[in-house]
């Protein structure tokens, strides 16, 4: 492993936690941190999250204790207590979440002892230890969920047909709103009641019911697993993990997997799948002429976190009929997860098996992709069979690579600096159509 990460495609646990709390309905984070952490996060969002900064109480509105050397030397709990008490007066929140930072975790401030008495008084306040050195923004997402599960959501009587959805980290999946909505729409086709936590249609009252769900669905092979484990332990709710379902092939499988886990009537599930495919292909139909006439099939390099890289490669290969040549997975994964993802990508139902790279360094990824492309250039001369025309689906950090390959490019995975995102999403059947629109629109922009 390298001793550094080049331009990490995520931020720290605290950043991920801030993003997660600001995505909760009227959630107010309270940072126990030095003065720069919210600003760092806001600039990160402005540059990486498709122009989405903050939320109800995000950006530089986030209250914080702004600890300094004095607190480092003498401890910061007193300052935190003052800050929390005044926050309750100034800020109008439905749920306050105290988040710690590198500095306050290292000096060992006992935040629980400050928060507990307030909660005992009936104030909706919880905390999570989210020092940046503990991990990346995906961990921060899980730490907030763990705190919610442990102190805010109690176990209830199992409600049949009710599910929770995890695995999509707000903002660090730049298309989180649309993706969550897309999953919810899919599950509603199966007549399920869906708790997505972070969309604008969710409520804290709904989130508090999460302990009554029949099943937890994690739409990731990595993110949200710990959360689901904890929910199984404390709420006794089983979980299943799936790919992020992008496009018809993955959505078919997703519906079948969920249907079978919940013992739904198979015929009913199949009927939904047929209806959705009909709809998808009827909508796609008018593009058939141009897709074929304009020769819009591409060789592709797909670069992104494990959620996107796998699912987009699959969509391109199995649904769109493109040729994913290289898939680079950019999050930090242990060997077990790496081999799981390898297995996913080598078992695509189309005949294309991409080269798979696990790397967090953009320069290294670009180097390996270019090497793969160069190896396919042929020997030169009059008749050559290089990997053109090409497309790079990745983040905005992969633009130089696309330029070098002479390929079109679309930013999907964090950081997305060059797109404006509101509630666009790529999940479900509908999301597949959005992705086709976006991919092809970038190719024909000069038409």
């Amino acid at each position: 492993m390298s001793n550094f990460i080049e331009r990490p495609r995520f931020t720290c646990a605290l950043g991920g936690a801030m993003a997660t709390v600001t995505a909760l309905p009227k959630g107010v984070p309270i940072l126990h941190a030095p003065s720069g952490c919210a600003g760092n996060h806001a600039w990160t969002q402005a540059g990486g999250c498709g122009l989405q900064v903050g939320g109800y109480c995000g950006g530089l509105s986030i209250p914080g204790s702004n600890v300094q050397e004095k607190e480092v030397v003498f401890g910061g709990t007193e300052r935190l207590e003052e800050q929390i008490n005044n926050t309750l007066k100034v800020m109008d929140g439905d749920l306050y979440v105290v988040l710690t930072s590198c500095v306050t975790d290292i000096i060992g401030d006992d935040v629980a002892s400050v928060v507990r008495p307030l909660r005992d008084k009936g104030i909706d306040i919880i905390h999570a230890e989210t020092g940046g050195f503990k991990g990346n923004s995906y961990l921060g997402y899980e730490l907030v969920l763990e705190s919610l599960l442990g102190t805010y959501i109690s176990k209830g009587k199992t409600k049949k047909g009710s599910v929770n959805v995890w695995g999509i980290a707000p903002y660090f999946d730049v298309f989180w709103r649309g993706n969550l909505e897309g999953i919810r729409n899919l599950l509603r086709k199966l007549d399920l009641e869906v708790n997505t936590f972070f969309t604008i249609d969710d409520s804290l009252a709904g989130i508090q019911q999460a302990g009554s769900a029949e099943l937890n669905i994690v739409v990731s092979s990595v993110i949200g697993e710990k959360t689901a484990e904890i929910s199984r332990e404390i709420h006794g709710i089983p979980y299943l993990m799936t790919d992020l379902p992008i496009g018809p092939a993955a959505s078919d499988e997703f519906l079948r997997t969920v249907g079978s886990a919940l013992h739904l009537d198979q015929e009913f599930v199949e009927k939904v799948i047929v209806q959705e495919n009909l709809r998808y292909y009827q909508l796609l139909e008018p593009m058939t002429d141009c897709f074929n006439d304009m020769d819009l099939q591409r060789y592709a390099a797909v670069i992104g976190d494990s959620n996107y890289a796998v699912s987009i490669a699959r969509f391109l290969s199995e649904d769109l009929g493109w040729l994913p040549e290289v898939v680079a997975i950019t999050d930090v994964l242990d060997e077990e997860k790496q081999s799981f993802i390898m297995a996913r990508l080598t078992s695509l139902t189309s005949r294309v098996t991409p080269k798979i790279i696990f790397a967090d360094n953009s320069t290294e990824i670009a180097g390996q992709v270019k090497e793969h492309w160069a190896n396919q250039q042929g020997k030169g001369g009059k008749y050559n069979n290089p990997l053109t025309p090409a497309f790079v689906v990745g983040s905005s950090l992969d633009r130089p690579l696309a330029t070098d390959l002479g390929a079109a490019h679309l930013s999907v995975s964090f950081p997305v600096a060059n797109r404006a995102v509101i509630d666009r999403g790529y999940t479900g059947y509908h999301g597949g159509l959005r992705l086709i629109e976006d991919l092809i629109s970038t190719m024909i922009i000069n038409r």
């Binding site: 080049e6 003065s35 600039w43 109480c57 530089l60 100034v90």
Partner: protein, 496 residues
């Protein structure tokens, strides 16, 4: 002993008695010589803001052939994703080629926190030198090394002879200062200690023939603003070298050959200019930002006076002003009497407020990110031109105070720093960004371009007005009923 002989620059709280918490009125500030607020002052409720690492990254990421090696947790430095747009645009505007900034993180984890991260940093430096072959590696400390005791200076010293790149340790431990302008000192400190030293390669560099000035830009101005200042200085027959942003490392030494250094903002440059004077005997001018009609003229007069060009400059200024004022006529009817609220870094806020008064606006409130003695004269100038008292707030962002003030003064338009316009926008106030390196702000062109943008924003503020009808700020009603400065702690004694 010069500050530059120390490992790291002093905190501005100590060096300049800078403060970040004060609430009152313009009259409290003007003529009071820093007696308005308590150095190191605090709030009993605060919002998080930025730390010195963020502006420091803005400077470092611009330097060609450099990489920033962030020694800290994996999130420190991710603001560079936001700063990268300016690096890309800056490279295009100067050299016609898109280039991303390169920054790396040692991503300190729990094990490093317990066992120390110096070894990891050493290995990282070797690897970075080998893989990227940069001219400069900025070795930057975030909060974690500052607490666990990793010594970036010793590491850099130990490894310097082993690697080809110049190693520049930069201290950006956010918990050590509340004045993020210390960032400029931190980066200047590193550049001054390493890049201005005489070496066998640069010793023969010839002194330029024409009178030459160092024009300082710490990344608060885009190329478009530099072009305007160059135009004005070239009109005086001067050669202009711009430092330190986007300056090629091998050319930095030429800073020591200039006849004069000119600051574009006293909040930015005093640390470096003092050093250039002490060590290389280069005189300097540090007054105010060349923003606004009168301030641009004053700024130019200062430079011209130094070179004995007093008559020439008056003629030039006169011509420029006549042309500009004529061009501004079409905007003035809409501006006349409109109420404006300004919030930004101290000098930018003040000089822009003066410009707004020149344009016919009524200034109704000003917020500055911090306060130090350099700005005393600017407050006096502002008091003179506005001839009316109004709320003045010193705050390192703290949008809750801003929201409260906005509801009281009800401006027609608000000018806020990048990341500082959302509060006013969500209250339905028209806004114009006061800091954005893609836009033009300085000199005569800047005054005109700002006026154009103000005119455009005032003509159709529907975006903000619509948002405000349906979106709430995260503050309680009780807060709006309180004095906006309730949470500023009052010290035992006012002033020093």
């Amino acid at each position: 002993m010069s500050n530059f002989e120390q490992k790291e620059p002093p905190r501005r709280e100590h060096r300049l008695h800078a403060c970040i918490a004060s609430g009152g009125t313009l009259a409290d500030m003007a003529n009071r010589k820093m007696k308005c607020c308590i150095p190191d002052g605090e709030r009993s409720f605060s919002q998080n803001s930025i730390c010195l690492l963020l502006p420091a990254l803005g400077m470092m990421n611009s330097i060609p052939n450099s990489v920033v090696l962030m020694h800290g947790a994996v999130g420190c430095g991710s603001s560079a994703h936001g700063g990268n747009a300016a690096v890309r645009a800056g490279n295009v505007h100067r050299w016609g080629a898109v280039k991303d900034g390169v920054w790396l993180s040692t991503a300190l984890d729990e094990r490093d926190v317990i066992c120390g991260g110096e070894e990891k940093l050493e290995e990282a430096i070797r690897e970075v030198d080998r893989r990227y072959s940069p001219t400069i590696i900025f070795v930057v400390a975030g909060c974690v090394p500052g607490i666990i005791g990793d010594d970036i200076d010793s590491v850099a010293q130990r490894l310097q002879s082993e690697v080809s790149a110049k190693l520049l340790p930069v201290h950006c431990e956010g918990f050590k200062t509340k004045i993020w302008a210390t960032a400029y000192d931190a980066v200047y400190h590193a550049l001054g200690r390493v890049m201005l030293q005489e070496t066998s390669e640069n010793i023969s560099t010839e002194k330029p023939k024409k009178p030459t000035v160092n024009l300082m830009n710490v990344s608060s101005m885009g190329r478009i603003d530099e072009v305007e200042l160059e135009r004005l200085l070239i009109a005086l027959g001067l050669n202009v070298n711009i430092f330190p942003v986007f300056a090629k490392p091998e050319k930095m030494y030429s800073m020591t050959h200039a006849d004069l250094s000119i600051s574009t903002c006293p909040t930015h440059d005093d640390y470096m200019l003092t050093y250039l004077k002490e060590k290389y005997n280069i005189p300097y001018i540090i007054k105010h930002m060349p923003i606004g009609i009168s301030n641009t003229g004053e700024w130019l007069r200062g430079v011209a006076e130094f070179f004995g060009l007093t008559n020439e400059v008056e003629e030039f200024i006169k011509e420029e002003e006549v042309e500009l004022k004529k061009a501004l006529e079409e905007f003035k009817p809409l501006f006349s009497g409109k109420k404006v609220f300004v919030s930004a870094g101290e000098f930018r806020a003040l000089s822009t407020a003066i410009l707004l008064a020149e344009l016919g606006f009524e200034v109704v409130a000003v917020r500055s990110y911090h306060h130090d003695e350099f700005a005393d004269t600017e407050y006096e100038k502002l008091a003179k031109i506005t001839a009316k008292d109004f709320p003045l707030n010193i705050a390192n962002c703290q949008p809750f105070e801003e929201a409260n003030l906005l509801r009281r003064v009800k401006p027609d338009i608000f000018l806020g720093h990048m990341n500082g316009n959302a509060t006013a926008a969500k209250l339905g106030v028209a806004t114009t960004v006061i800091y954005n390196v893609g836009l033009q702000f300085v000199g005569y062109q800047g005054a005109y371009q700002l006026a154009r943008r103000l005119h455009r924003q005032l003509t159709n503020p529907n975006f903000n007005q619509n948002i405000s009808k349906w979106v709430n700020l995260p503050y309680s009603q009780g807060w709006y009923d309180q004095d906006p400065f309730t949470y500023i702690k009052k010290g035992e004694a006012q002033g020093e």
